[in-house]
Symmetry: C2
Subunit: 470 residues, 2 copies
């Protein structure tokens, strides 16, 4: 029977009626074995889907002793006949004919049947993907990445791989990792005794990107509509459930678009992701929304469906401040005009006041980066943040300042060194055009749709202060 082709569980369950009565081979990892005298139940998963295959092994099959005593985590190949299930939650099960252990485990295997904490699972991120929970999370992550590429491709955007190693600070906020090939213990020095970056690989001091936006603007002003989808880095020392040192961002940039255009684009994109996940990851979401690990329950389907089908609320920062001040709530941080909106404020707007995503626009220029288009009031910029319930800021965007004089003046006001930005400024000198864009934190979008409450649990190998294993 070794020439029988292996069937993945996704295919087996998706087209179960095609297989009933047939003998097939399945390969995967044992979730559990329940042994009795006359037969055993083996539960198998192969990662292709959320489905678990129940396999009945009668005591008279070859190799029964080995198969019936397999430990959780054993890798196994089983040949058997697909039959309709007697149980109520399964459509099909398998009657084993023969089986073979591919890779054994011993008692030290850390993923035993009884629940393990998410904290502990982070320490074994190389294995946690074998659990039902993380299998679901990473299949949803994949689906949302596909949704992203499909969405932008269908709209005529071109994918840009913006550079990772960079000599400029795209946000002007200074929270960057240094990159170097100089000798770590004895770097080359100049006559003044300073590290000599002219001897470094790139001949200068370079860092990891915090954004691909500036390069996105270059390409948008040639190709019209582009988007990045790549890793970005922040070296701030944040140990929160919402921050990573290394995270993935999607940054569309659109020539001839104003802030309203990209606010609509952002809403369409979020709706598209929700719809794609509903269509492609129904079993995963059903599983996740049942889990105690997530912040949500089955009602999250309706919550997201309402977002998919509804209008996004849109208010200005000034209106947001008025709502907060009229709320009667006591906030830890001040809410005077000009103050940053803190997480508690954002949460009030989304979770309490509107009970839906909210797009806040036209922030004070002092709260935002140098490149945003300045409003005529001299105080605010054409910025937007899209805030969603439970997560806070999911998207930050703006119309970009396309006027060379206004932009350089703002950089001067902020005390920025303009030299490294010569190329960025030239975009405003040669055939400038209005353009706008935004950045979506991919992990936050995954948290929002899966209901997972810690950002470290929606990226395969999280990087946070003090954590760089695997």
């Amino acid at each position: 029977m070794t020439d029988l082709k292996r069937i993945e569980l996704k295919k087996l369950f998706d087209r179960s009626s095609d297989f009933i009565g047939n003998e097939v081979v399945v390969k995967g990892w044992v979730r559990s074995v329940r042994k009795s005298k006359k037969f055993s139940f083996i539960v198998l998963n192969d990662g292709s889907s959320q489905d678990l295959l129940q396999i009945v092994a009668d005591a008279d099959i070859e190799n029964y002793e080995a198969l019936s005593t397999m430990l959780t985590g054993t890798c196994v190949s089983i040949t058997g006949k697909v039959v309709e299930s007697q149980g109520k939650n399964q459509t099909i099960e398998m009657q084993a004919v023969t089986g073979e252990i591919i890779g054994a485990v011993d008692e030290s295997y850390p993923l035993q049947k009884k629940g393990t904490s998410l904290e502990h699972l982070r320490d074994i991120a190389h294995l946690r993907v074998r659990t039902n929970l993380f299998g679901a999370v990473f299949r949803v992550r994949h689906a949302l990445a596909m949704a992203t590429h499909n969405f932008f491709n269908e709209k005529g955007f071109f994918y840009l791989n913006s550079p990772i190693i960079t000599a400029v600070d795209g946000e002007g906020a200074g929270e960057m990792f240094n990159v170097s090939t100089l000798d770590k213990q004895n770097p080359a020095k100049n006559d003044k005794g300073e590290v000599d970056f002219t001897k470094d690989y790139f001949g200068k001091d370079v860092s990891l990107c915090v954004t691909g936006q500036l390069e996105g603007e270059c390409h948008a002003l040639g190709l019209g509509k582009v988007y990045t989808f790549g890793p970005t880095f922040r070296s701030e020392n944040s140990n929160t459930k919402r921050h990573l040192a290394e995270f993935w961002m999607i940054e569309p940039e659109v020539a001839f678009a104003d802030l309203d255009d990209v606010a609509d684009l952002a809403a369409d994109y979020i709706k598209y992701m929700i719809d794609y996940a509903f269509t492609n990851c129904r079993k995963e979401l059903e599983f996740l929304y049942k889990m105690p690990f997530t912040d949500v329950d089955a009602s999250h389907f309706e919550t997201l469906a309402a977002v998919r089908d509804g209008e996004f609320k849109k208010i200005t920062y000034t209106e947001a401040i008025d709502i907060l001040n009229a709320s009667g709530q006591k906030f830890e941080f001040p809410t005077n005009w000009g103050d940053e909106l803190q997480t508690e404020h954002e949460k009030y707007l989304t979770d309490v006041h509107f009970k839906s995503p909210v797009t806040v626009t036209d922030y004070p220029k002092t709260c935002k980066a140098f490149y945003m288009k300045q409003n005529d009031d001299g105080k605010t910029v054409r910025a937007m943040d899209v805030l969603v319930p439970g997560i806070g800021e999911l998207i930050g965007g703006s119309q970009r300042e396309e006027d060379l004089d206004k932009l350089t003046k703002r950089m001067d006001e902020m005390g920025m060194e303009k030299e490294g930005y010569w190329w960025y400024l030239e975009l405003r000198k040669f055939g400038s055009a209005p353009h706008s864009g935004f950045g979506l934190g991919f992990e936050r979008a995954i948290m929002y749709i899966t209901g997972m409450s810690n950002i470290r649990d929606v990226i395969a190998f999280p990087r946070t202060p003090g954590n760089c294993d695997f």
Copy 2:
């Protein structure tokens, strides 16, 4: 007329018959203006496609003087009537009604009509995307990225974002960039006077990844089939047409697959990319194959079609050495059994001997990385390189050593420090399975399909020794 919706040129040309006789708005950048007394010809591109729209502006239209004297690179909005073209190479053209300059340029604009060298264009990578050549390249790049995601998604693979910052050397070759947040001039030191990495952001010495394979193996042994598509880094001091310090790789990893399975997968993937580019980028490829900048001419369509429709040749390393030694060619580098295959050898196999892509398998273990499955001969490993004409190595892959003892013995032989790899080794301890994968250098694939001859011209902002602008 300002309420007329703007039409992108791609849509205008793809559905030209829908628009003939209608008045529309186009926005883009001027490629050229030819002025005469009674009328002018304006040629416009907006980046959405390879198409150039010829616009006829009669001297009696409003704003004629400004429009007819626009310099190359001016950003403009023109409203006009779509008419059938009189010229033979165009289906449609536009009769201008009114126009408005959005962003002017002056004489210092570096992209003038007459040809500029590729070297010079690299120095203005923020603008080169506005040329017909680089517009074509980056639209093809986008298409090949979409092809990649579609191909793997259709086959049931899950996209993995493997980590960029890492504490392990995935190839064991030591060509890594250091990443740190320690003070550059005065890093924290321990009592021995050494740099104290416990004070660094991650509490240890970390680098940029050279591969996502090791983490890909973790996820393949849980989800079954995964692929990465992300940036990877090599700090080797290579100034060649085929090397970048920062490049993008696609690395599928498949549980229960052997080398033959992933060799087939690699061939299918290359064929899929060719077919996708033919279907989605016909105009771009036609343009590129005509350009003097590319290594190819229109016959490249037939060359690639033959690859798409044919079988990939497959030989062992030992057979490759025999072919080279029987060739009568004089090579610069030796071709004794055990020697590395150099570019000249690879080129002989693909360009002269086979005149097609060739998959070479079963290399001497001394030529390859520690993780490859050891053959019973004790000398070779289950490695493969896919070599293609004009490019050389496009793909490198292998079956992975799934036996813990053999793997640790090999790491010891190679003098590797095993400590940081504890998690990688545990994959062989807990439910191990045969598995295989490969890495495709994305930029090399783009070179192969576009015919571009320098890798710096197929990535938006190339990073090479001494070059980290933009």
